[in-house]
Amino acid sequence: MSDWIDIAALDDVPQRGARVVKTLAGCVAVFRTATDEVYALNNSCPHKGGPLAEGIVHGDKVTCPLHNWVFSLETGQAQGADDGRVETYPATVENGRILLDKAALNRRSAA
């Protein structure tokens, strides 16, 4: 059973955009696609630590702003020839609010 925490309104994140949530263990990027899916990923590219929340969102992917690595928002997997993975966290939308899974974020803080 997930223990969801209310983060913000869906409309606080632009479509095809992202905002960050600060945690004690660093930033989590919360993405919103053109079709209003919401994803949460570690805000750090495994290549050179680029802030993924600043990338261009297309389909269910994001392109890192530093060197154009492309990641799946759903799996965190690097696409194409690049090799790497970004940690993903459960995220959902209920009644127009973005919710993140507390336990998953806590595990992250502990790691």
Partner: protein
């Protein structure tokens, strides 16, 4: 002995339940039917054809008074229920009658949602729900104007119905495209185009602010951008809410709707509910198919038979004449999901299938929905489509046969088949030209003009070449804009201009994009092309910009940003320097550097601090230096006649004037200028994108310099006698570059493609053309010549902050 059944609400769901009940066991119940509307059950879905004049009320009446009489149903229409006593199992009617029941069924339907805008109570503000609303709309004619708030299914049907009566209709929709819950952007674009052709004005991304009235009657809708839309009638079609008030009052379990189980029984075993008022397994219902399923289940439950309601896949069709549109299932992007997209720009056809694990899970179709039932069947039955995948998108007619060869289709065309619609060129003419020696696309274009205008037939012309030349034809490896499209940058730019494409979904559709919404390579290019060609119609899309241009600062390798305030012509003041120094202290800027463009760079500013540091710099009179943009960067100057003993003209003054004219303009790549006061060229003007070298007799303007990856001296374009003319020529060059170059080509690269002479003809020799370029530039600058920092401080500061800050304990 007959039991007593009381039904509250004579809508489509209870109507169907009643039919099933009476068909199966006509003698099981004595039925009393209450309805707040003063009539029985009619086909509410067909109100739109009634509105449009395609049907009459009589034709959509499902149950006539005669039907109720024949079936022994006691009708109490126009009467509400005042209360329910569940312990006594009685209901109290509005007139005080107390009636007992054995079973009670709710079919209270839904209420239209009225946005509580100021003025929503005014006369002439209505919803679109029942026959009364429809009749209000039918009372309008060609002398009337109407505003519809809501670009969903219902709002658009209302708008189209009224437009068919000659009413001037404007649809105001808060989202970026129409019917966003059922359609993706591309289909939304085609729908919009069709509705605009019907004379309907569509305003998307529009926020309503207030309903304005006069003498108690609606007069206009005011948008938050200040636009006033006059109207005689305002229709709100923004959604429905299940009507649960009576059920809640009676103490039944309600959430968004009245809670029911799989047998349509509420939290009270003797009370059922069906239709739009129910909530089943978290879902509420607005389409008719599941309501009918519920009705059948409820009827069986009443008869003590086993039945279970199961939620199914739903599909949507829009009932607007001439807009063929279909959507079903889930068409959101997702990992492991693939798109098959088919677009036929010529016929306005768009089809998109979303596939996961070789099963179609969603479909959107526009323009040709003939095969929609077949696709819907594949979705519903979860059919494995692996074997027919290659031809799947073409529909059932193309399954099972041999794969089609597109070349065979072209080879089969007769000689008089038109290939290029713009220039009226037939296949025969192209074949003749090829036989006469035009063996590549460029040559065919040059000799016949085929594909030389809008370019959309380029692929066809190439196929004619391939068919005619056989193996001798090698398809040119013209690089497409990105993997999303087959067209080159140049083709896309031509299409945007010739077809008047003013939105990204329009470009995706008309240029045959293979992805649903582009990628990080094509979107910034398209965003530039659209805003450069249609400055008034197209609104800049920050989400299609690289981070530097989205946040108006340069991202650094550690995720911090650099901030460079503008110093016009490289001139600053002690006050500005003090303000910069104060800002550097206040925001703990780790590095302060003087740039090559004669200004100061504050490096290492945290993203969250950007609005604050900008506000401080703004307060000292400074604006963004656009050091991050594909746009005007700097105009480097020397001191000229002000101080220099060699200066021939006021180079600093000209530089400042140029910078104040050009700043804020977006260009294909960065644009750097230099103005030197004499041929000693201390401002290094001859390696800039545009350089001016002052001489005693005037101003030498040269273009196409480079001092980066390539190093190149500028080519002299013209010498002009006055400062005024120098500014004019430079504005015209900038606009020509904006209108024609491909995204990410600096001027020297663009010039190597079109030739310096081509540019010279247009900005030097053709004075009318120059004036038109200047006018185009000024039009665009009327929107973009402003400080984005100040705008963001005022409007977007919050978006620079974290969405939330969590102070959580480590794992317990």
């Amino acid at each position: 002995m007959k039991q007593k059944l009381i039904i509250i609400g004579a809508g489509m769901a209870t109507g169907r339940a009643l039919e099933t009940l009476l068909d199966t066991a006509p003698d099981a119940y004595d039925v009393i039917l209450f309805n707040a509307e003063p009539r029985g059950n009619y086909n509410r879905i067909m109100l739109s054809p009634v509105l449009a004049g395609d049907k009459t009320y009589a034709e959509i009446e499902t149950h006539t008074p005669q039907w109720y009489a024949d079936n022994g149903v006691t009708c109490r229409f126009g009467e509400r229920i005042a209360g329910i006593d569940r312990a006594a199992k009685t209901v109290t009617a509005q007139n005080g009658d107390v009636l007992s029941y054995d079973k009670l069924m709710f079919g209270t339907g839904s209420n239209p949602f009225i946005i509580p805008l100021p003025g929503h109570y005014l006369e002439g503000v209505i919803a679109y729900r029942d026959l009364e609303d429809t009749e209000r709309m039918m009372g309008l004619g060609p002398d009337n104007t109407c505003v519809v708030i809501g670009g969903g299914l219902l709002g658009l049907e209302a708008a189209a119905g009224m437009a068919a009566r000659g009413v001037k209709v404007t649809v105001v929709h808060i989202m970026g495209h129409l019917m966003e819950r059922q359609l993706d952007e591309a289909a939304g674009y085609l729908l919009r185009k069709a509705l605009v052709d019907k004379g309907i004005t569509i305003k998307c991304s529009a926020n309503s602010k207030e309903i304005l009235g006069k003498d108690g009657h609606v007069r206009a809708l005011l948008l938050d951008d200040g636009t006033e839309l006059p109207c005689d009638l305002l229709v709100m079609a923004v959604g429905i809410r299940p009507n649960v008030a009576l059920a809640a009052e009676a103490g039944l379990a309600v959430g968004r709707g009245i809670h029911v189980d799989d047998q349509m029984v509420t939290s009270d075993a003797d009370i059922l509910a069906v239709g739009e008022c129910v909530e089943h397994d978290g879902a509420i219902f607005g389409l008719v198919a599941p309501l009918y399923d519920q009705a059948r289940v409820a009827a069986k439950t009443l008869l003590g038979e086993a039945a279970t309601f199961v939620q199914k896949e739903l599909s949507t069709k829009l009932k607007v004449t001439g807009c063929d549109l279909f959507s079903a299932g889930d068409f959101a992007d997702g990992d492991g999901r693939e798109d098959i997209v088919f677009r036929d720009p010529g016929r306005g056809v768009y089809r998109r299938l979303v596939i996961e694990n070789d099963i179609i899970i969603g479909a959107v179709m526009y323009g040709d929905t003939a095969d929609s039932n077949w696709f819907f069947g594949l979705i519903r039955d979860k059919t494995d489509i692996a074997r027919m995948r290659d031809t799947l998108i073409f529909g059932p007619a193309y399954q099972g046969g041999t794969p089609l060869d597109p070349l065979a289709a072209v080879a089969a065309l007769p000689r008089d088949a038109e290939i290029c619609g713009c220039n009226g060129i037939c296949k025969g003419q192209i074949e003749d030209a090829i036989t006469a020696g035009a063996t590549d696309l460029g040559a065919v274009k040059a000799t016949t003009k085929a594909s030389a205008s809008c370019g959309s037939c380029t692929g066809l012309v190439e196929q004619v070449l391939a068919v005619t030349l056989g193996d001798d034809f090698v398809l040119p490896a013209a690089a497409s804009i990105c993997a999303c499209a087959d067209m080159t940058h140049e083709d896309v730019r031509r299409m945007i201009k010739s077809r008047h494409l003013t939105s990204m979904p329009a470009v995706w559709q008309e240029c045959g994009w293979k992805t649903s919404c582009g990628c990080h390579v094509c979107r910034p290019a398209l965003n530039f092309y659209l805003l450069a060609d249609w400055p008034l119609e197209y609104a800049d899309d920050p989400q299609s910009r690289f981070i530097n241009e989205r946040k108006h600062a340069n991202i650094q390798k550690d995720g911090t940003f650099s901030v460079v305030p503008r110093m016009w012509g490289g001139i600053t003041t002690p006050d500005e320097l003090r303000a910069i120094a104060d800002a550097a202290d206040k925001y703990a800027v780790p590095t302060v550097k003087v740039t090559g463009g004669q200004r100061i760079d504050l490096l290492g500013v945290r993203g969250e601090d950007l609005p604050a540091i900008w506000a401080d710099l703004n307060a000292a009179g400074m604006v963004s230096g656009h050091a991050y943009s594909k746009g005007l960067r700097t105009v480097k100057t020397c001191v000229g006649t002000d101080h220099c003993r060699f200066g021939t003209q006021d180079s600093t003054g000209l530089g400042i004037k140029l910078e104040k004219t050009l700043w804020g303009a977006w260009t294909p790549h960065k644009l750097k200028l230099g103005v030197s006061g004499c041929p000693r060229n201390c401002a290094e003007a001859t390696c800039k994108d545009i350089g001016v070298v002052c001489v005693d007799s005037g101003y030498q303007i040269s273009i196409g310099g480079a001092a980066g990856m390539d190093v190149r001296e500028t080519d002299l374009l013209v010498q002009v006698p006055s400062e005024r003319e120098a500014i004019d020529v430079i504005k015209a060059i900038t606009q020509l570059y904006r209108e024609n170059a491909r995204y990410l080509d600096r001027i020297y690269k663009w010039m190597s493609k079109v030739g310096a002479d081509w540019i010279k003809e247009r900005v030097v020799d053709d004075l009318e053309g120059r004036a038109a370029l200047i006018a185009g530039f000024e039009l665009s600058q009327s929107i973009y010549r402003r400080d984005p920092w100040a705008d963001h401080v005022q409007q977007k500061a919050q978006s620079y902050q974290p969405l939330a800050t969590l102070q959580m304990e480590a794992a317990e």
